[in-house]
C-alpha cells in the first residue's frame, strides 16, 4: 500500500470532524437552541480555557488511573487465561466466581473500594482493573483453547518443552482473541476510572463530570465529555495500533 492511504484516511477523518462541527454550530445558531440544551462549541472551548489547568490535571489523573487499571487487568487477565488453560480444575473452581463478581454492579462495588482504599488513586485503578480483567481472562482462554493441537504436537515432536510451546505458539496464536478483549478493556478501564472518581475525589474527569452535572452547568458538562472522548478515543487507538503491529497476521484469520 502506498503512503497515501493513511494520509488520505486522516484527511477524511479531519473532514468528517469539520463537517460534524459545522453541523453542530449551524444547528445551534439556525434553530436557536438554548445553551443549557446544547451549547456552541466556542462556549465549550471557552470553558476549558477558563481553567485549562483543572482540565489538564483531571485528564492526566484519569489517564493514569486508566492505564494502571488497564495494565493490571491485562496482566492478570492473561495470567488467569494461561493458568485456567493449564489447570482445568482450577478453572472450574474459580471461573464461576469470576462470573459472579462481574454481575455485581460497579456502583455497589465502588462503595466497598472506597472503604478499603480511601480516596486514593489506587482505588480508581482497582475499579478499572475490576472491569477489565474478566474479558481478558475469558478471551485469552478462548484463544489458547483454539490453538490447533496438531501444531502443538508438531512442536512437541521437535522436543519443545511446555514453556516454549506456550510462548512461541499458544500465546501468540491467542493474541488476536486477547486483543479483542484488550480493545474492549481500553474503554472499560476508562469507565472504571471515571466511575471510581464518583466516590469522592478532588481531581479527575469524573469529578468534573459530576460537578457539572449536579450544578446543571451544561457547558462544563460538555467540556468534560469532550475530554473523556479524547482520552477514550486516544487510548483505544493506541491499543488498536499495538494490535496491528503485534498481530500483523490477524487479517488472515
Amino acid at each position: 500500500m502506498s503512503m497515501r492511504g493513511p494520509a488520505l484516511a486522516m484527511l477524511r477523518l479531519l473532514a468528517g470532524l469539520l463537517i460534524a462541527g459545522a453541523v453542530w454550530e449551524g444547528a445551534v445558531i439556525a434553530l436557536g437552541i438554548r445553551p443549557h440544551i446544547l451549547p456552541r462549541l466556542g462556549m465549550i472551548w471557552g470553558a476549558v480555557m477558563q481553567a485549562p489547568q483543572a482540565y489538564w490535571d483531571g485528564f492526566l489523573r484519569t489517564l493514569i488511573e486508566t492505564l494502571i487499571g488497564f495494565a493490571m487487568g491485562a496482566c492478570v487477565g492473561v495470567l488467569n487465561g494461561v493458568v485456567f488453560f493449564r489447570l482445568p480444575t482450577l478453572r472450574d473452581m474459580l471461573l464461576p466466581i469470576f462470573v459472579v463478581s462481574q454481575t455485581i454492579p460497579v456502583i455497589a462495588f465502588g462503595a466497598l473500594v472506597v472503604l478499603w482504599f480511601g480516596n486514593t488513586l489506587m482505588a480508581k485503578a482497582i475499579i478499572a482493573f475490576y472491569l477489565t480483567f474478566f474479558p481478558v481472562t475469558v478471551n485469552t482462554l478462548l484463544g489458547l483453547n483454539s490453538v490447533d493441537p496438531r501444531q502443538v504436537a508438531l512442536l512437541r515432536s521437535f522436543g519443545a518443552n511446555g514453556a516454549q510451546i506456550l510462548f512461541r505458539l499458544q500465546l501468540p496464536m491467542a493474541l488476536p482473541q486477547t486483543f479483542v478483549a484488550l480493545r474492549l478493556a481500553a474503554s472499560l478501564s476508562l469507565v472504571g476510572a471515571i466511575v471510581g472518581e464518583w466516590f469522592g475525589d478532588t481531581t479527575g474527569l469524573g469529578v468534573l463530570l459530576l460537578q457539572a452535572m449536579y450544578n446543571e452547568n451544561v457547558v462544563a458538562l460538555w467540556a468534560a465529555i469532550f475530554c473523556c472522548a479524547i482520552l477514550g478515543t486516544g487510548f483505544y487507538a493506541l491499543v488498536a495500533w499495538a494490535e496491528r503491529r503485534l498481530v500483523f497476521w490477524g487479517a488472515e484469520q
Binding site: 443549557h36 472506597v114 482504599f117 480516596n119 486514593t120 464518583w198 460537578q211 450544578n215
Partner: protein, 335 residues
Amino acid sequence: MQRRALLGTIGATGLFPAIRPAGAQGLQRATLRLKWLAQTQFAGFYLALQRGYYREAGIDLTINPGGPNLLTENLVATGADTFGLSGGTDSVFAARERNLPIQCVGIAHQQTPFVFVVRKDSPIRTLQDFRGKTITTWFTGANYVLLGMLAQAGLRQGDFTIQPQQVSVTPFVDGQIDVVTATRYNEFYTLMTRMGRDNLRVFVPDEFGITFPRDTLIVSEQTARDKPDMVKGFLRASIRGWREALADRKAGVDAVMAVAPTLNREHQEFMLEEAGKLMVAGAAAQNGMFWIDQDAVKAAHDFLLRYEVIKSAVNLPAAYNRSFLEGLSAADRGV
C-alpha cells in the same frame, strides 16, 4: 484507622503509594468526609484548612469530598474517615437505628435547607392547591417533609402525584411538572437563573412548622470517647474558618475555587450566602454555629417516628452530643 490496618494485614501497603506520607510531628492525622463535592456549602472548612487553623489545633486534616453513592455515616463508623459532614438529622437517626456507632457533634444547617417551588403564574397558591398536581422531590427525607406539610393541609397520599426527582430541574422549567424541590443554595440558583426569581413562588417547610436541621457533623463513638480534645479542636477551627468565610465571602469562595477551579463563581457566591444564612439561623444565632438545638432535633425525630420512617425511638442524648461545643469558650463559639 481500620482501613490502614486492613491494608497492613494484606501486606500490600507498599503497593499503594497514594496513601499520604506521615504528617508533621505532633500532629494527629484526621480526615473530614464531606457530603458532596467541593463547593462553598463547605467553604468554612476549606478556609480553615487553607489558613492552617486545623494545624494550630494539632490536626493534620485532609478533606475528602463526597459523591452520589457514598454514605458518610458508614465511612465514619468504619473508621475510614475521622469526621464526617453527613446528610442531616434524618441520616443520623437512620444510622443510629442501624446501630452504627456514630455521634453527631454539631449541626451546620439549622433550618430545612430545601424548599418547594411552583411557578408564580400557576394556580398553586396554597398547600391545598397541591391537590391533583405532579410533584418531584428527593426520596431521601424531603419526601417526608412534603408529606408532613401536605398532611397538615388535609391532603393525603393519592391526592397528588409524587415522583422521585432526578438531577436536573429541567422538567420543571419546561413545565412538565408543577412542583419541584430545591435546596436554597443549589437548585434554587438554577431555577432563578433560568426562570427569574420573580416568576417563582416558594413554600418553606419551616413556615409550616417543620424544621429539618441538616448537614450534621459526625464522629465515631470511639473518636468521641478517646479523642475529645481533637473533636473540640476540630470544632474550634471549623467555627473560626466559617466565621471568616462568612465575613469575607471572597476569601471563602477563593478557598473552594482553589480546589475546584471549574466551578461557576457567581453560583458559588450565591451558595455561600445561602448556606451562611442556614448556619446562623435558629439556635445558632445565640449559641454559635454548629449548635445542636435539642428541641429541633427532637421535633424532627418525633416527626419521622410518626411517619414510621424510623421504626423505634432513637436515644437522642447518645446520638447528639453537645458536650464538645459546650466545652468551647464563648469566644471560640463566636458568641
